[in-house]
Symmetry: C2
């Protein structure tokens, strides 16, 4: 057994693992995450209908046909706004069923590793399983490299220097809220850009930050694209897209 | 060669690697970081006089006596405030000499891996080498799990839900600035707590957030300590200490 395998360790029976799989490149899984992906009895992941699942695609080089997979497929909600009560009820019911199917494996003594893009406790859907299962089962959460770290690394820009304050803003916020918060930032990351891209660009422009803003699509993955936000006029970005505004703090 | 070693890959001649070594537990190095720590010709790291060096300690299980190490020792500046011009000049001269010693190895065709706690482009001292060497040498930056991800994982608290805004605030900021920014946060992480601990606690209290605040010392490392900030009256924390204020956003 190699030193890396020894350090990575293996899964224990009846335990739920929230496995951060990092920003996209399989090399950015942690040793612990890689050890668990290869040793849990059941590899669970969320996916949209008809798609492979982003987290599942990231770990593909670590998988083989003998592994037991638990695909948790989101209900089709593409056209319903997130704030809608019907949407929220439907997603909550889906999460409840997903937690029940995971619990059944755990009760049977099987270990379950639930894949989470980036870091599980940072806007991760794993959190919705954690809050339903943490009291009743042993749970280990494995932190991961966040999508934003992957993106600023690929853009080759340090994000915070010295005493810079960093704000992480969901692109789902209203334009005036985004614009107001951006005006109080030294450095910023805007997540969940996707279909909010034109609004995000208007907010960044309104805050006087367009000249410093970078748009990153599919950072660390195939098809990566990094351009100044000023040069991006797309009507929407893919799921993996964000805007970076690097800080300009003390450089010694 | 094991699958993990194959994915991790090896270093190339004459290349500078900025290696994020994560929050403290060696299992939280990425595969790429672990592969590079074991294959670069020179393992470089910053350290304070008389101490092992935090990043060097994290990778100890991956090292052996045959490796060539480059210890970059900070000048003794313990009693001089960071804002002081003399301090800044001394640190800048130190970084210049450190970059020269790294450049000499690179020019001789040796690969150099500079260890960086957490993520290299997130408040990392590697950034001071990167800006001096990136134009003249091939550089690869390897993102890492941040210290804050390690801390909220160990504290077993998701940090951001739904549309929560996260602010990352250096504890070195003035108390009134900290307090003002905290009042505009849904979720917050206060870094660089150390000797700023009493000031940070006053600012959190002033912002009305004391009941939600957690104090984390040496997260993911030996000697880890996690307590409500309200229960911590220490005059100063160690280098690895931070305050977490978890978000309370949408939980479906």
């Amino acid at each position: 057994m190699s030193l890396l395998d020894t350090i990575a360790g293996r899964a224990e029976a009846g335990t739920l693992y929230g496995i951060g799989v990092g920003p996209g490149d399989v090399r950015y899984l942690t040793l612990r995450a890689a050890g668990l992906v290869r040793s849990v009895d059941v590899v669970g992941f969320f996916a949209k209908r008809g798609l492979e699942g982003n987290a599942r695609r990231i770990v593909a080089p670590l998988m083989d046909a003998s592994r037991h997979e638990l695909r948790l497929e989101y209900p089709v909600t593409e056209e319903v706004p997130v704030a809608d009560a019907a949407y929220q009820a439907e997603i909550a019911a889906f999460y409840r069923r997903a937690a029940e199917s995971i619990a059944a494996h755990l009760q049977a003594g099987r270990s379950v590793g639930l894949l989470s893009e980036g870091d599980p406790f940072f806007y991760g859907s794993f959190m919705h399983m954690w809050r339903r299962l943490d009291r009743d089962f042993p749970v280990e959460v494995v932190p991961g490299v966040t999508g934003m770290s992957g993106c600023w690394t690929q853009a080759n820009v340090p994000i915070t220097w010295g005493d810079d304050i960093l704000s992480v803003l969901p692109g789902t916020l209203a334009e005036d809220v985004l614009c107001d918060r951006l005006q109080r930032c030294e450095a910023a990351v805007i997540m969940k850009v996707g279909r909010n891209l034109p609004k995000v660009k208007r907010a960044v422009t309104g805050a006087g930050l367009l000249a410093r803003a970078l748009y990153v699509e599919r950072g660390t993955m195939d098809g990566q694209r990094i351009v100044p936000l000023s040069a991006c006029d797309d009507e929407r970005g893919p799921y993996f897209s964000m805007v970076l505004i690097p800080g300009q703090g003390r450089q010694l």
